[in-house]
């Protein structure tokens, strides 16, 4: 089936199998490999992107369901000149990443978190990041980074 959507501000369209997941479309068709697959079951959050301004797990929806949507992936978060988004900058500043695999999904979730809770407490940050697994950082520095970014967003 034919699908069309906007990804990182650019219109894209393609012919896909109906069973194609949105994450597969983003990674394989668009070659935007910053969005990762960690568990296939909506549990780890590595595939988190924004769809119409909301964080969603792109392994849990079909590409067809994103017909006409505005999609933002990690590749579209920094400014065109390469300047990092405050959340990306805060992750760097506070060592909120190690292997980097969960990072794109974690950052996209964190941006959504701060959009919803402009000045989040540690408890709110930890509760809201419940849908994203990180095996490296122990979350300590991620929590610090999100708190720091919330002051700058």
């Amino acid at each position: 089936m034919k699908i069309s959507m906007s990804v990182n501000g650019k219109p894209v369209s393609a012919e896909v199998e109906t069973r194609t997941l949105l994450v597969t479309y983003i990674r394989d068709n668009l070659r935007l490999t910053g969005t990762h697959v960690g568990c296939d079951t909506g549990q780890c959050g590595a595939c988190t992107i924004h769809m119409n301004g909301q964080a969603v797990k792109s392994c849990n929806i079909l590409a067809l369901q994103a017909e006409g949507a505005d999609i933002l992936t990690i590749e579209g978060l920094a400014k065109a000149d390469g300047t990092l988004h405050p959340m990306q900058e805060a992750f760097r500043e506070h060592h909120g990443l190690q292997c980097g695999f969960c990072t794109p999904g974690m950052v996209m979730s964190a941006v959504d978190l701060v959009n919803k809770h402009p000045n989040p407490s540690e408890e709110t940050i930890r509760a809201e990041l419940d849908g994203n697994l990180c095996r490296c950082t122990g979350y300590h520095n991620i929590v610090k980074a999100v708190k720091a970014a919330s002051a700058k967003m």
Partner: protein
């Protein structure tokens, strides 16, 4: 130029920009021209005879290029997967090493065992066709736990290993230990299950193998911690390929924790098949496959006893452990419950007599191998649970009993083979107690009690051995590989530097830490130094990253290469400055004639080496590019004190960690930010083991009951606290950086501290890991 010294500075990581912008390049991100895809057919049974495999229907499915089974594998006359460490048993006999086939040979031995591989144009086509492969199984009884596997009449997994026993191995002086127990004033005895864990790096394992017919070479992208070892094992021991024809690239790797050290069947099968189909083949594990094919960790059943005199002085320790190997021997599975476990049973204490006996057991489960800490968490759990329990039984303060038994003079030879070079355990514990405000604990406990909550405090004073070495000793103990590391410093004509290291970073930040070491030594900016790792085509050689060895072993190889660069630079500078080599000193990026103001900067010397117009050609070759190999003279011995404070709600059984303090001695520290990050991550994995994570097999069917993140409880952000971390420094005495290693400390120290805190809170002697709300609630309410 003094400000070029960044040792001890939290330099922001060079690798972060790419990871934060989606520009990381992990194995699954690599798609090659004419890419094809593989899907494995895996056994749904824990133990079954394979009576036949029909692949005709699957072969006719759309897009299918090839299907291979164990028959094809046998016909190709290639080998099984090797085990890298030979353990010799108590009778002097070699351990049993049953065939570890890449595709099952007539019998499946665990759920997830590889039966066949389907290769197709797309992954969906491969997956669809895999469902059409018909395997006729005759299901056999299965055995999944060590105690049952050793019973008379238990199902036998391998003909080559009667009684499902791989080896019975022992370390220490049994006579002296038994004698000390006979005269002890007090004996504390505990039985433990060290729960089986699934490493769960968030990047699933992945392989992309290709073959070039024109020069008969192979290229393998693989999520792996040690690409040269992967290549050596695969070419020399399994496929018999010329080593120089195989390039192994481990690009960005999304976490390892041990699970990506090993040579896996999928890596070998894809490499082998890539020549047969003459196409690049990619396989990426789905998470449900990771659970049944990544090597698991821990899985010990132990009985341990500590003998003490009337003053709480440790007299002897006696340990009997049954350790699961799983269905086959994984690459380093055999050395984990022996060389990396029993040798650590002295802990931080002067216990004079220790005896440990380990029985390694085959079970119908995924193979078990090193997982963050590897043997050392199991040893620390035994020692620190016994020590804390003994203190309570003898009514001695748990910190005091430790102080009475700490090793205080170094070097110290333990009764279990290791010689600790240095440490200061009293100071480390004192610092942890201060940070944790142990003095204020009774008041906090009383306050919690008023709210109906139960507070507890637990200690853990761990020791670990990192940078396993030296090769000759390891070889005498059964290692089938060297344990050195290699490094290369390539100074470019402009004075910029590329470092090639055999260590591999999969989150540890080597691109930054190693650049800091090199830049500080050469007196140049960190930005002038790039680090290359993870590619046998670019890096000279390497043993890779595991066992917290990278900076202590890999960093030292780099320092040795740097010394050669500086020595050659001195000769070039002497020529330029018309002085004698021996009069040149190198400091802050300047080659100087000692006692004068005559100097040339590092950059000029580099340029001269590559534009050798005015050059001592009679004495020196042009160029400035040096390599070094480093084989350590001993392990390093990081140690620390962890203190955990919990608050338990007896109505719900929920344990909240209200305070977790870790003070560690990692020797000198290059980048404190990165080191703290390693501690945080390790602690969380340790807390995961103690509080949430359990890999559970059904005892009857051998099915894995915890095969997804819905059933296997990974610690999430709201399960763990923010940590208080500190460091004490005693510099390692036998490497030039004075560093020890920090990657595994948290995972080693945390479990006993947490369980000691829970048992303290509830006033109970034992609770099994993970201390889930159900177990805690039952314990809390049984007593009440």
């Amino acid at each position: 130029m003094g400000d070029m010294n960044t040792i001890g500075v939290s330099v922001k990581r060079k690798e972060d920009y790419r990871f934060l912008t989606g520009a990381g390049n992990y194995t699954d991100d690599v798609t090659l021209p004419h890419q094809s895809y593989a899907c494995f057919v895996r056994s749904p049974h824990a133990h079954a005879k394979i009576k036949g495999i029909k692949k005709d229907k699957a072969l006719r499915a759309p897009g299918v290029l090839a299907i291979y089974t164990g028959e094809d594998w046998a016909a190709a006359k290639v080998g099984g997967l090797p085990c890298g460490w030979l353990i010799t048993d108590v009778h002097g006999q070699p351990m049993k090493e049953p065939l570890h086939p890449c595709l099952a040979q007539g019998k499946a031995n665990h759920v997830g065992d590889q039966i066949a591989v389907v290769i197709a144009e797309t992954y969906n086509q491969a997956r669809d066709a895999a469902e059409l492969v018909e395997v006729d199984y005759a299901v056999l009884p299965a055995v999944v736990d060590v105690a049952s596997a050793l019973k008379q009449g238990a199902p036998q997994i391998h003909e080559a290993a009667p009684g499902n026993t791989c080896y019975v191995w022992a370390l220490g002086d049994k006579g002296a230990t038994d004698k000390a127990f006979a005269s002890a004033a007090h004996v504390t005895k505990l039985e433990f299950i060290n729960n089986r864990l699934v490493p769960n790096a968030i990047e699933p394992r992945a392989v992309n193998a290709s073959y070039a017919r024109h020069d008969e070479s192979y290229t393998l992208y693989v999520a792996n911690q040690n690409p040269h070892v992967e290549r050596l094992l695969m070419t020399a021991f399994v496929l018999g390929l010329p080593e120089q024809k195989v390039r192994v690239i481990a690009p960005d790797v999304g976490g390892g924790f041990g699970s990506k050290i090993y040579l896996y069947a999928e890596d070998v099968v894809l490499t082998w098949a890539s020549k047969r189909v003459n196409r690049p083949i990619k396989w990426t594990a789905e998470r449900s496959e990771s659970f049944v094919s990544d090597a698991h960790g821990r899985d010990h059943a132990t009985t341990a006893e500590l003998a003490l005199d009337k003053d709480g002085k440790f007299l002897a320790l006696r340990v009997h452990t049954k350790a699961a190997m799983g269905a086959y021997l994984s690459t380093f599975g055999s050395c984990v419950p022996t060389i990396l476990y029993a040798t650590l049973l002295a802990g931080q204490y002067t216990t004079p007599a220790i005896y440990a006996e380990v029985t390694a057991v085959f079970t119908n489960t995924v193979p078990v191998d090193a997982y963050r800490g590897a043997g050392r968490p199991e040893a620390t759990y035994v020692v620190e649970r016994l020590v804390e329990t003994a203190a309570r039984e003898m009514k001695i303060d748990p910190a005091e009993i430790r102080r009475r038994n700490f090793i205080k003079t170094f070097p110290y030879q333990t009764p279990v083979a290791l010689q600790y070079d240095i440490g200061d355990y009293e100071a480390t514990l004192a610092e942890a107690m201060k940070l944790a405000d142990v003095a204020g604990f009774p008041a906090r406990r009383a306050e919690a009690a008023k709210r109906g909550k139960k507070r507890g405090l637990g200690y853990s004073c761990y020791i670990e051995a990192c940078g396993i070495a030296p090769s000759a000793v390891a070889g005498a103990l059964g290692a089938r590989a060297g344990l050195f590391e290699a490094g290369e410093i390539r100074v470019h004509p402009t004075g910029k530097v590329t470092v090639f290291t055999g260590s591999h970073s999969h989150g540890q930040g080597h691109e930054t830490t190693f650049a800091q070491v090199v830049a500080s030594r050469l007196g140049i900016p960190v930005d002038d130094v790039d680090v290359v790792h993870g590619d046998t085509g670019r890096v000279l050689f390497g043993m890779g990253t595991y066992g917290s060895r990278s900076l202590a072993v890999g960093g030292t190889a780099i320092v040795k290469a740097l010394d050669k660069v500086v020595n050659k630079g001195k000769k070039i500078a002497a020529h330029l400055l018309e002085a004698s080599d021996t009069d040149i000193e190198f400091k802050d990026g300047q080659f100087k004639v000692a006692g004068t103001d005559k100097a040339v900067p590092f950059g000029s010397v580099a340029l001269t080496a590559y534009v050798p117009h005015n050059y001592p050609h009679d004495k020196l070759e042009p160029g400035l590019n040096e390599q070094a190999f480093y084989d350590p003279s001993n392990f390093t011995f990081p140690a620390g004190s962890h203190i955990c404070e919990v608050e338990i709600d007896p109505d719900t059984g929920i344990t909240r960690i209200v305070n977790f303090t870790a003070v560690d001695d990692f020797g000198n520290i290059v980048n404190p930010m990165i080191v703290e990050g390693q501690v945080h991550g390790g602690l969380t994995q340790g807390i995961g083991q103690a509080l949430t994570e359990a890999c559970v097999y059904d005892k009857e069917s051998g099915q894995l009951l915890t095969g997804s993140y819905l059933d296997y409880c990974m610690p999430r952000a709201d399960d763990v606290p923010s940590y208080k971390v500190g460091t004490k420094v005693t510099a390692c005495t036998h490497n030039p950086l004075g560093v020890k290693g920090c990657g595994e400390a948290g995972a080693i120290g945390a479990p006993p501290a947490l369980i000691n805190a829970i048992t303290d809170a509830l006033g109970i002697r034992e609770i099994e890991m993970p201390a889930t709300p159900e177990r805690v609630w039952r314990a809390a309410n049984k007593k009440a």
